[in-house]
């Protein structure tokens, strides 16, 4: 079939503030194809898709629809032209019904009133044509995630969609739901719809896509027929470099290295049940698990940020931290996973951010701004914060540089146990590597490191031992040759568990997440 080009991006670039995240990408999408976009986290695939679909305006380059340049002022204009983006976090109104959502803003009406009967009939026809059994009169909040996604797609189809953009649509779906989605995608494609499909699951791409565009560090590596590549070959092109030198060499902690932090039978009500673990000086203890496994919640409980029960020992001494200030006194620091919401005062100066956690060092008794400025300049130097002018608010920095500032802020308290929660989330590969080597430097100073991360290569590349959690429970501790992505995933998904039956039978273990 001689597929016809629908949408084309020519030299598309996109910057956020001073940072360009997509660099001059050419891409074409044809009617009746599934065009996958793949790449590592931060490779720019989602940004590229949002730029193509009119959700973001390109910084340079142009988008052509049927060969003619188009500028969508907002996503409504794009949708009117048949280009629809389905967000990862679905864009439905929870308290409206399925039919009300599908026709939101363009309700069929008669005599100035909404024609409910016509709405219902149109919705039924639409859902029938998609062969889904979503109840039309339910409120969206009552639906499962996959049903809600179907409603999104139905909404798109009802607007005579020509290009449908899907951002990691199967992340929230079970295997069976994924099959239903794929069926629907195949039917849409047969009707001549073009699908742009962003995913990091290469097996899925192989199964559903016709062509694939691979992104790396904001550049396009190439566009290939999926039939010509195996998933492994895709992965190689995504990474594009030998990953071996991403991580510093692992030096095991000294044989007599004392345990720095120990947690025993620790529970956070409703979220974590009976977790035990220990980390020694000079050791990285990885904490792996799926999203919602309770990893962050466990350590927020330990730090006194959440109500909790259980035993915590620091350097062998039993402690009870009711507030992060107590943990700080005992030289334990936590780097939050939520950099923008909990890590930085975005509107405040870098200087005020860096010293916030250890302000007592700069107050004698009045805050010494000069000393603070000195601390900022040292931090900029030590952590290689790339900023032309240090007198800017934190929001002016890129994610990676912001993360370095948060790290500097935490380290000013001079902790000897640091808990890093997703320390490289949303930052570029080069900065990731810097952070990995900084962790190695901490180890050489005798600091104990807990690394919570959802990126398995990172957990495995840095950790001496890895604790895996599933649904609020520690299911296993891995080290040495057991430390592979496959085993970690087996424990994280509950396929394997070292917990004895007697233990998992405790009533709290069944409290839902």
């Amino acid at each position: 079939m001689a597929a016809q080009e629908v949408l084309r991006g020519v030299g598309l670039s996109k910057s956020f503030g001073p940072i360009e995240v997509v660099h001059g990408v050419d891409i074409d999408v044809r009617a009746g194809e599934v065009h996958a976009l793949v790449g590592e986290n931060g490779a720019g695939k989602s940004t590229l898709m949002k730029t193509l679909s009119g959700y973001l305006a390109p910084s340079s380059g142009e988008v052509r629809l049927d060969g003619a340049p188009v500028t969508f002022r907002d996503s409504n204009e794009a949708e009117a032209a048949g280009v629809v983006l389905i967000h990862q976090e679905l864009n439905l109104v929870p308290h409206l019904t399925v039919e009300e959502n599908i026709f939101l803003g363009r309700e069929p009406h008669r005599y100035g009133l909404v024609d409910r009967r016509a709405t219902r009939r149109a919705t039924r026809e639409l859902l029938d044509s998609l062969r889904t059994d979503v109840p039309v009169t339910s409120q969206v909040r009552e639906l499962s995630v996959s049903q809600a996604q179907m409603v999104e797609i139905a909404k798109a189809v009802s607007r005579e969609v020509r290009v449908l953009c899907m951002d990691e649509p199967t992340d929230v779906l079970t295997g069976r739901e994924t099959e239903v989605l794929f069926d629907l995608v195949r039917r849409l494609v047969a009707d001549g719809v073009a699908i742009i499909y962003v995913s990091h699951k290469l097996e899925e791409v192989k199964a559903i896509a016709d062509r694939v565009t691979i992104m790396r560090d904001g550049y396009k590596v190439g566009t290939y027929d999926v039939a010509d590549l195996t998933p492994v070959e895709m992965a190689r092109r995504m990474v594009g470099r030998d990953l071996a030198d991403m991580y510093p060499p692992k030096r095991p902690p000294a044989d007599d290295a004392p345990v720095a932090l120990e947690i025993e039978a620790f529970s956070v009500p409703g979220l974590v049940t009976g977790a035990s673990l220990a980390v020694r000086r000079g050791e990285v203890l990885g904490v792996a698990g799926l999203i919602g496994a309770g990893r962050t919640e466990l350590f927020e409980g330990v730090l006194g940020l959440r109500p909790s029960v259980g035993t915590v020992r620091k350097d062998g001494r039993e402690v009870k931290w009711r507030h992060p200030a107590d943990a700080k006194r005992d030289k334990v620091a936590y780097l939050t996973e939520d950099r923008k919401g909990k890590g930085l005062l975005l509107d405040s100066l870098l200087r005020e951010n860096v010293t916030l956690q250890a302000l007592e060092l700069f107050a004698r008794p009045f805050v010494d701004v000069r000393a603070e400025q000195g601390a900022l300049l040292r931090a900029v130097e030590e952590y290689d914060v790339r900023v032309r002018d240090v007198a800017v608010p934190a929001k002016a920095l890129s994610g990676g540089n912001q993360q370095k500032v948060v790290l500097a802020k935490m380290m000013l308290t001079d902790p000897d146990v640091v808990i890093l929660d997703e320390p490289t989330r949303g930052i570029d590969v080069g900065t990731k590597r810097q952070i990995y080597f900084y962790v190695a430097e901490l180890l050489s100073r005798g600091v104990a490191v807990v690394l919570i991360s959802s990126e398995l290569p990172e957990v495995i590349g840095l950790s001496h031992r890895v604790v895996v959690m599933q649904r609020g429970v520690v299911t296993g501790t891995l080290s040495g040759d057991d430390l592979t992505e496959e085993t970690v995933m087996a424990y994280a998904t509950g396929l394997r568990s070292d917990r004895r039956v007697a233990e998992t039978r405790t009533p709290e273990a069944h409290v839902g997440l």
């Binding site: 507030h323 992060p324 509107d347 302000l359 400025q373």
Partner: protein
């Protein structure tokens, strides 16, 4: 107004070059009002008139310095006017009761001042603890205490007026009407409160924490700052400021009633907002609040001196200026 915000760090000049207009808006408004006033009436710029304006701005100004802390930390205190009335009523009743019991009149007044200061701290602490420990919205808690204090003073006055014993008035009178080095005592008090407030807000850890909590309380908590304690303290500071205002207010009329201090909370909040502090918290300056309080009092003064606009429209002009001030500040931020 001579209180600069930071010591001359290397970034001082940069910062001045970056954001001067937004911060100087209240000061420009003040200058404009002074120019208008001096054109309208020749006696406007006389020391007598200026001191009169400053003295009248002292009550609201001192309360507003406390409100600056509360608002920057992301809170609000609606109870200050009623709290002032209650403290004034309680103070007068207490002094009348103690008077003649063998304590000298000066001693009686000192005891009364002590009672008011302790009472202000306690009332502020009660607000703060209900808000932080009780986890109730500041708006709700202080709306509740607004009603409570107002009703208490009416009860104490039995629906009428509480008057200070004449034997005490002579001793206490100079605290409002007296001069020191040619400047009225209330102006001194306002200046000292503003100066101490500015130092605490802009130069101490506590002040930095107040701003951090106002911009993002979660970030502050994760940075090991005891958020609840700092928040409670802002209400305690507010209570102390109310108490100081009451100490100056009682000798002015020598009485208190159910209508004492009505709408002071709104005037104090208005002074803070005109002064450039964000109502949502996170940023602000004590000197801006001082300018705001003086501006509010100047508007009344200018309207008194001119026949062009009725003084009964004072509230309307103040209202326009509040809205205009916020509009200008938002415009400067480029939103």
């Amino acid at each position: 107004m001579s209180v600069s915000e930071v010591a001359p760090a290397p970034t001082w000049r940069d910062r001045l070059g970056r954001v001067p207009w937004q911060q100087l808006t209240p000061l420009l408004g003040l200058v404009l009002l002074v120019v208008v006033g001096s054109l309208i009436h020749p006696s406007f710029l006389t020391p007598t008139n200026i001191f009169n304006v400053l003295t009248r701005s002292a009550f609201i100004g001192i309360i507003a310095v406390g409100a600056t802390f509360v608002i920057i930390a992301g809170g609000i205190d609606l109870s200050v006017g009623s709290m002032a009335a209650f403290l004034a009523g309680a103070m007068i009743l207490f002094m009348n009761a103690v008077q003649g019991g063998g304590v000298s009149p000066v001693g009686v007044v000192l005891l009364g001042v002590g009672l008011v200061l302790v009472g202000g701290l306690a009332a502020g602490a009660a607000n703060g603890i209900a808000i932080t420990r009780g986890r109730i919205e500041a708006f709700i808690v202080t709306l509740g205490t607004l009603g409570i204090f107002r009703s208490l003073v009416t009860y104490l006055a039995d629906g009428g007026t509480i008057s200070l014993d004449f034997a005490l008035r002579g001793v206490y009178r100079p605290v409002f009407y007296g001069y020191f080095l040619g400047i009225p005592i209330p102006v001194w008090a306002f200046a000292v409160v503003a100066l101490v407030g500015a130092i605490v807000l802009h130069r101490t850890r506590f002040g930095r924490y107040v701003r951090a909590i106002g911009s993002n309380a979660e970030v502050a908590r994760y940075a090991a700052i005891r958020v609840e304690r700092v928040r409670t303290l802002t209400y305690v500071i507010q209570g102390l400021c109310v108490a100081i205002a009451v100490v100056l207010y009682v000798p002015r009329l020598g009485s208190a009633s159910g209508s004492t201090g009505i709408l002071w909370e709104l005037e104090a909040i208005a002074a803070v907002i005109i002064g450039g502090t964000a109502l949502k918290g996170g940023s602000g300056h004590v000197w801006g609040t001082v300018v705001g309080a003086v501006m509010l009092s100047l508007i009344g003064n200018v309207l008194n001196l001119t026949t062009a606009i009725s003084e009964y429209l004072n509230g309307a002009v103040q209202g326009l200026i509040i809205i205009g001030a916020v509009f200008l500040q938002r415009g400067r931020q480029g939103r």
